[in-house]
Symmetry: C2
Subunit: 196 residues, 2 copies
């Protein structure tokens, strides 16, 4: 069914264009007209793929999470415990230009998710998955005696996730204190503390 394949490929291309525009110019800069122009489509040619700006935003955020999750799957393959947690965190931290652009889009997305339940749901389901994995890795490290048993698992794991969310902001708004090297030392400081 080549038509469906084509439709899906086009949707992905449009989402790819959109997140780059949001990263550069913010949400307000990402009008359907701008996206069409940047993607090389005629004005109005986005509508058959994304009938509303909300549906375009949702697809764009799914696209960005998908990029990050693909990197995570590759980086954590075959790892467990602290090694997996560190590899995962290194993919979530904004350590290069592409991931700083992802962070800029994520910040825009949070603002949208606060007022659009469908987008909040995209974010929720991504975060539920990350939270489970962080807990699982930390639990495994404790089970193997590689991490202290205190503090309780749930708040300890949640602070790692919350730190990673905060790092998206910190890296794009306070780069002087959150260079790639500094972010990696912060991550290692936390892992050192969790090891006990």
């Amino acid at each position: 069914m080549p038509k469906i394949v084509d439709h899906e490929r086009r949707r992905a291309e449009i989402a790819e264009t959109t997140w780059r525009i949001i990263a550069r110019r913010g949400l307000d800069g990402a009008t359907l007209r701008e996206v069409a122009a940047d993607a090389g489509y005629a004005n109005g040619a986005i509508k058959p793929y994304f009938p509303s700006k909300a549906s375009l935003m949702e697809a764009t955020f799914r696209h960005v999470f998908g990029r990050t999750n693909a990197r995570i799957a590759e980086a954590t393959a075959g790892l467990d415990g602290f090694a997996a947690l560190r590899a995962f965190s290194l993919e979530v931290l904004p350590l290069d230009a592409d991931r700083l652009d992802e962070a800029r889009v994520v910040v825009a997305f949070w603002q949208q998710a606060l007022h659009h339940p469908a987008q909040a749901e995209v974010n929720d389901s991504a975060m539920r998955q990350w939270r489970e994995r962080i807990r699982g890795w930390l639990q495994e490290a404790r089970r193997r005696g590689l991490a202290a048993d205190r503090p309780p698992l749930e708040p300890a794991a949640e602070t790692v996730l919350t730190y990673l969310l905060g790092a998206q902001i910190a890296a794009v708004l306070h780069p002087d204190f959150n260079s790639p090297e500094q972010l990696i030392s912060q991550l290692d400081a936390q892992l050192e503390l969790l090891r006990g």
Copy 2:
């Protein structure tokens, strides 16, 4: 000079109205027209106080930081080390309805700051102040032998600040895992880890 006093009071009233509107309806909902209507001003009566939406946003964000900093000053008076760090963090964490509204505004603000240097500067100067204080309190706790000397001060302090930024997002977007009680256990988990 009663006129100047009046002008300043009006500006503060308008900023107070604006942050409540942003918290409820997002940045897009905070048009000059909506703000005027909510503040009980004639349409167009905001302009003499705030000639542009950008100047209104900047004043609003300063107003929100001012609220938080006033609470911090009160809560940390006479404290040092971990006691000060905990009292400070409890004022920054979104632990009640008002502070959840502040968090919603801060998320909107970050999105603005990414693309408006003047607003980035408001945020930068607030965060520099917080960063210095967190470092100072942690250093004092270490000096008194109340905290382990590892990991290095700078990344240890920065992760606390970054966690507090992330908590603004986590509390408004993932309240099921970030209730006031859960946020407090997360904070205490971090302080326990830093004590060593």
